[in-house]
Symmetry: C2
Amino acid sequence: MKQKIGLAHGEGGELTHQLIQDVFVKSFGHEIQTKLDSAILPSLQNNMAVTTDSFVVKPIFFPGGNIGKLAITGTVNDLAVSGAIPRFITAGFILEEGFAVQNLKSIVQSMAEEASQAGVHIIAGDTKVVEKGSVDGIFINTTGIGEMNEKNRPKPEWMKNGDAVIISGTIGDHGISIVSARNELGLMTDVKSDCASLNHLIGELTNEVDGIRIMRDPTRGGLATTLVEICEDFQVTIELEEASIPVRRDVQGACDILGFDPLYIANEGKVVIIVDSNFVEKAIDIMRQNEFGRNTSVIGQVSTKGSGKLLLKTPFGTTRRLQRLSGMLLPRIC
Amino acid sequence: MKQKIGLAHGEGGELTHQLIQDVFVKSFGHEIQTKLDSAILPSLQNNMAVTTDSFVVKPIFFPGGNIGKLAITGTVNDLAVSGAIPRFITAGFILEEGFAVQNLKSIVQSMAEEASQAGVHIIAGDTKVVEKGSVDGIFINTTGIGEMNEKNRPKPEWMKNGDAVIISGTIGDHGISIVSARNELGLMTDVKSDCASLNHLIGELTNEVDGIRIMRDPTRGGLATTLVEICEDFQVTIELEEASIPVRRDVQGACDILGFDPLYIANEGKVVIIVDSNFVEKAIDIMRQNEFGRNTSVIGQVSTKGSGKLLLKTPFGTTRRLQRLSGMLLPRIC
């Protein structure tokens, strides 16, 4: 008989103890175990970066990853784009009664592998179980703690006319892979999620290149929403060149069929960077040497004409203003 | 019309932006806002304690608190019993489509108030929304970061014969208040949840009293499960005096009706402490001066006869061994 999660697995008694031993300790190692209610760690030398994220992606397994891998990469990337070296991650699981223990094991194993690749330690965890129907399978919350590298810290306040906007590769892959995996809209593609930890790519870049103004991972809301936020927060105008933005043909095709714009589709393994134009060539060289930056492209520039606006220059020579994602596009993409 | 949460509130676009401004920034202040993907904080001087917890309590509002207050107190207490001063908390929300915005505001306001009382800062947040039926209203994950006070750090390795076991007050209040609020078992009581942040009580104690061996908050699994874990982890035997364990009459009455044992019912505002017997009177004096320690009592002692066992001495002169909570008692108690 296949093992299933029961409510008692979440009650803190004997079965919780067994589940922790059997699933979490096996994959995460003894690190996560503690005889106190908290993990005790040495303090960091430098400033600390902290981020938190809940993952509710549907389906939980999709081409290119699963909810566990995504939880690690998402948190690692939030730290990395802030200029921090990811150090520690906590993981909170909410499981539905009846969830297959085998699926939990696969998810936890993916988390362990991705954490190891990214060089972060999973230090604390928690498991709750709710009745069948009270949650859709599994939700994961991860909180990340990173250590700032002050030398490499992005300087958004230095953004100026002519700074280049770079993206590390094609946009929209994650969102389209999820829609395709859901099989709801009759869409079938070979698109895989791009979900990946970008801290090594970002580390290689920031160690070598000065003049990084800001980095962001364009997840929910896509590239356009991320850039609108930068424009508003720092009162700059950004002009994007639509023709320069890398989009896979099958992603563009899927978007055309579904009436989506790839600019608003979530990415989980891309970073958008604004950099002093004097350093842009060096930045691209370095990024393209990393497996997750092969298709790095310059896609626009910062302008001081006007302020706080994201503009898109189309191949037809027209310019339109882009806003934040409005209304509903794709729920439960991460 | 009453405002409801929609799926678009979780998509990272315009409505997410508005929700953050309208609900979270209002209650939490600007601290939580950041123009980067992480909150950047000064590093701690001393070792760091980290804990994470997901909250799925049902119902979300109950006598003595709500899911938001509970999320803060639970995380604060996990840090405090580890010997840390709670500093920072992150909060991840998973909301059901259709959840009343007014309820979210109440919950968030309770979190802000409890955090302020406990002296912790809510530094980062995340909101996801899932379709109606995919989650039961609201789940919250909180991760806490504390700073170790090495001088006051409990020393479990020093536990020895004759050390006293102290509880800060009556047991079982939280669990019984939840069962009662659910109204499922036809039980009606006036019992309020004891949920409270104990960091000030614990700070006052550890600043004044040497010889603290270990502190734990007996939440899921109750006092018995917590003490079984201590016995196993540190290979000591603990003898509890059943007659000395404080239980409210109405809690005991509810347990008698329902066939529960208060020793296995969750507490959310109690701490169990093992202390050198030479310091026990001073410890009790200090704890009773704090509003959350008025009913502090000595309930047992550490013994070197045998090892790894929790024993209960009944008023009839018999002794029985207690195990971890086994099987299901009360799901979704926190």
